[in-house]
């Protein structure tokens, strides 16, 4: 098995059951080689689906977490909160991560057929494993 230079978790953490989140992050962090990178991208607070869910979907206790009609979960992240929780969960698993980059990405998506302007907001974060 090769050593892992980078782990990609793209719109995945938001679908993890809250009670398993820390274990998930810990396992993923442990899989990275020292010096390797954890690449995260996920839904952010204020993303359009969150605003839609607020009207229609089932909102779960640990806000802002929603359950879609098909039972899959969608969580929307505050950037600082996400970074803090990733580093804490990694630390609890004995892995030292340093956040090398974190930002909100705002993407304007146009649906010309339906004359819709969709404002998507994502969190983008990179962590380097230091120990």
């Amino acid at each position: 098995m090769p050593s892992i230079d980078a782990v990609l978790s793209i719109f995945v953490l938001s679908a993890v059951v809250p009670s398993r989140e820390a274990a998930f992050i810990g396992a993923v962090a442990t899989a990275i080689r020292p010096g390797g990178t954890l690449c995260l991208r996920d839904y952010a607070i204020g993303d359009l689906p969150m605003l839609r869910f607020a009207a229609s979907a089932r909102r779960l206790k640990d806000a802002p977490l929603f359950q879609r009609g098909d039972a899959t979960l969608a969580r929307f992240y505050d950037k600082e909160d996400l970074v803090a929780r990733v580093m804490q969960a990694a630390a609890d698993a004995g892995v030292g991560l340093r956040c090398s980059d974190s930002e909100y990405c705002c993407v304007q998506v146009k649906n010309r057929a339906e004359q819709l302007d969709m404002r998507r907001v994502f969190v983008h974060a990179q962590f380097v494993r230091e120990s």
């Binding site: 098995m1 090769p2 050593s3 892992i4 230079d5 980078a6 782990v7 990609l8 978790s9 793209i10 719109f11 995945v12 679908a15 993890v16 059951v17 809250p18 009670s19 398993r20 274990a23 998930f24 396992a27 993923v28 442990t30 899989a31 390797g36 990178t37 690449c39 991208r41 607070i45 204020g46 969150m50 605003l51 607020a54 089932r58 909102r59 779960l60 206790k61 640990d62 806000a63 802002p64 977490l65 359950q67 098909d70 039972a71 899959t72 979960l73 909100y104 705002c106 304007q108 404002r119 907001v121 983008h124 990179q126």
Partner: protein, 158 residues
């Protein structure tokens, strides 16, 4: 743009929370399996071509090894391999249907000779498995035929 969301956000957080709990991990696994059972003929999500620009490590040319936890039907993995033929990707997902869909996409691109071992596990289990060096879910070798095909399409095949 975040500021513009402020007002609607305020409305959003006023929603009364439901507190009868969320489905557990096993239910989530089957929920995502059902999702990909329904959406396995074509990639449900658009190809994420921005990833290699957003995460420079993915473009390292010295044979970077990437583990994707939660690969879906390949919206990240396939563009990554196109962009970086030297990359090696291990991808896994909750859903066996999703992993099967990636394998079909690879086969379609002519990569049938790659070593492919497939198993669908939860993300957590997959990461544990990688650590234990026990399971390779989907190993797409470097010098991918997908990448060569892409290069040919762009007219720069060497």
């Amino acid at each position: 743009m975040l500021a513009e969301h402020g007002e609607s956000l305020a409305t959003c957080t006023d929603v009364e929370p439901v507190d009868n709990g969320w489905s557990d991990a096993a239910e989530q696994s089957s929920a995502w399996s059902r999702f990909y059972d329904r959406h396995d003929t074509a990639p449900f999500f658009k190809a994420r071509r921005y990833l290699t620009a957003e995460f420079p490590i993915l473009m390292q040319t010295n044979g970077v090894t990437v583990l994707e936890v939660g690969c879906g039907t390949g919206s990240s993995v396939l563009p990554l391999l196109e962009a970086n033929p030297g990359a090696r990707v291990i991808a896994c997902d909750f859903s066996a249907s999703a992993v099967a869909a990636i394998n079909r996409a690879i086969k379609k691109a002519g990569a049938s000779t790659f070593r492919r071992k497939m198993m669908a596990l939860s993300g957590t289990d997959a990461a544990h498995a990688c650590r234990r060096s026990a399971v390779t879910l989907l190993l797409v070798r470097c010098r991918s035929v997908i990448a060569r095909k892409a290069a040919a399409v762009r007219g720069c095949d060497s």
